[in-house]
Subunit: 404 residues, 2 copies
Amino acid sequence: MAVGYHALPVLLPVAGVRWGTTAAGIKKPGRQDLAVMEIATGSAVAGVFTRNAFCAAPVQVCKQHLQTDQTRYLVINTGNANAGTGARGMQDALTTCRAFAALVGCAPEQVLPFSTGVIGEYLPMDKITAGLVHALSNSASDWNPAAHAIMTTDTLPKGVSLQRNIEGRTITLTGIVKGAGMIRPDMATLLSFIATDASLNAGDLQMLLQEVVRDSFNCITVDGDTSTNDSLILVATGKAHKTRLAVGSAGFLAFKAALLELCQTLAQLVIRDGEGATKFITVTVTGGADKDECGAVAFTIAHSPLVKTAFFASDPNWGRILAAVGRAGVSALDLSKVRILLDDVCIVAGGERHPEYTEARGQAVMDREEITVTVDLQRGVASHTVWTCDFSHDYVRINAEYRT
Amino acid sequence: MAVGYHALPVLLPVAGVRWGTTAAGIKKPGRQDLAVMEIATGSAVAGVFTRNAFCAAPVQVCKQHLQTDQTRYLVINTGNANAGTGARGMQDALTTCRAFAALVGCAPEQVLPFSTGVIGEYLPMDKITAGLVHALSNSASDWNPAAHAIMTTDTLPKGVSLQRNIEGRTITLTGIVKGAGMIRPDMATLLSFIATDASLNAGDLQMLLQEVVRDSFNCITVDGDTSTNDSLILVATGKAHKTRLAVGSAGFLAFKAALLELCQTLAQLVIRDGEGATKFITVTVTGGADKDECGAVAFTIAHSPLVKTAFFASDPNWGRILAAVGRAGVSALDLSKVRILLDDVCIVAGGERHPEYTEARGQAVMDREEITVTVDLQRGVASHTVWTCDFSHDYVRINAEYRT
């Protein structure tokens, strides 16, 4: 049902990374719900996390453990977010790391835990510790089982691979992502795991990830709800190059461009598979005084239930877009300069309907499955783009029935 | 279908105010869509308006004309918002005032125009000028026809009257209101008209209205969308008292309390009749460092589609409330102090589920038609209350089908 995305493409293995999965019975019996990523020694690992003040126990543990710079394993469960679980939740996240460390013979701080699912329930620790053994036993270089195992309300497993020739070697990037609701990442989407065989040091990797996330995962919104568990991990195993990519070198910039493309594709997959989505909407605000005001206008449009239901109905009710621009809080906005376009059709110019606009032209755009809204404020050179989906009957159905 | 509101109550006439209405055929033939309020000379008139930058032509004209302090007539049409209509829209609003002024023999500046309905279409001026004659011809002291004539997607006409004994005289306050979607007034709801026979000077009335609106109309949200046309007018005819209520006197304070009660009732009626509403939700945030942060938390909860769909489903999925508190942007929030209650049932204490909370106790509250969410931040003495409704299948249906 995802918009413009119909199946998981071939995911390329990344040298130095292996995945194991199992059905631990955390919420539903028989469903793959526990995944383990093994990372070769000497890899660099970077991460970004939710800014929700109620961040989940595993997020807090991840942040601490990442500081050791010795990460070797990721342990991911679905079916339970271990959020809103207080001191016991913290103990459960630490116990998961300790149990896994004992199995593989590493330090607990070398294990990062991730959880996603219902908030406010305690982890079934017996099922998780039992599941870890099984997950480890089927470890392989294939990412496909992991893409399935991290799903919750997602309708399809989501992932993508890229290859680029950088400094004379073929570099592979592969990433998977899950998440369809409670999506307005301030840092990253619910859960995403990306690996590459490029070689970078941990500090450079972390800086690069934060930059790239700003123009990819932080530009998507399904419903404006920032989750308690958003986590994105980027692993660079260095298996393709002996020497590290130097910051600012042509190779480094080529890698950055590839990483941005991968992250934008993954972030957009979350929107394409957004809860109840029938349309993929790009909102681009140009001509702003600064990037912040462009973002404010873009997110106001992208969060408006009235705009989103109009897209669902394929109704060129552009007054709702105009009203959203007007309430976005841009100071001293000169309405007579504002232009609004649906794809290439100009609907508003000079604060009113464009003289050549007709309902038929608007309708032709609205009937499309993928639509770009462009708002040109004509007061500067800044711009910002946000990706979102429409608001359908199914959004309400999915979220009203989530726990029943 | 409104929650806890089933019919327009008896609306008491206000000496010095008369209403005329007609079916001018603006959008649908035969529907009452044009109303005229006549205000006795010597009345004081106050107004508050939308802060949407794309404010409609009639709002701009209203603000100018109010400055004359000589307002005698309000002209209100539904079916067309005269917003996003540029220079021609301004001309149409002014022409409406001029045409009506010519009919009754006053200055155009003594007429205030109001429009509500679809954005981006020009007013049918011939129908409006023809309708004005008819509306004027059936003018009477009854508010009931006006409560009907200002409706758009409202399922019921909405209004209320209060009487209080102030300084030895019976004072009457009557108000009507319309609006069900595009409701997150920063100033007032879509359209509301209130009159009293109390005597106040225009400056005091304006100050009083602004104060009262802050704790009534500015505390409601259906969908977070501030309209282009929100307008609230308060008329004080002075027919009950010869002398004016002095600021700070016992009579003035009693009047203020009555006006606040009237405005809160009217504002809550908009929520009770919110598009697709099946629940009436009060969100109270207490223990905040200041009123702003309490408001930020309350509105974040009230705007969350996940929280709203959980209320629709009567699902005590309190993790969604907790996540909304966490992303409201309150700095240095101590999660271990936060308490969350559904009516009198404590669900969260110390950042996790209250030990005595059970799903059954949460379900018992969620099954109610009117529910209060209380969030106690326990870091100060400020508080703020917001009223909202749930997000139902009908919300999507109504807004997807609005123009079809």
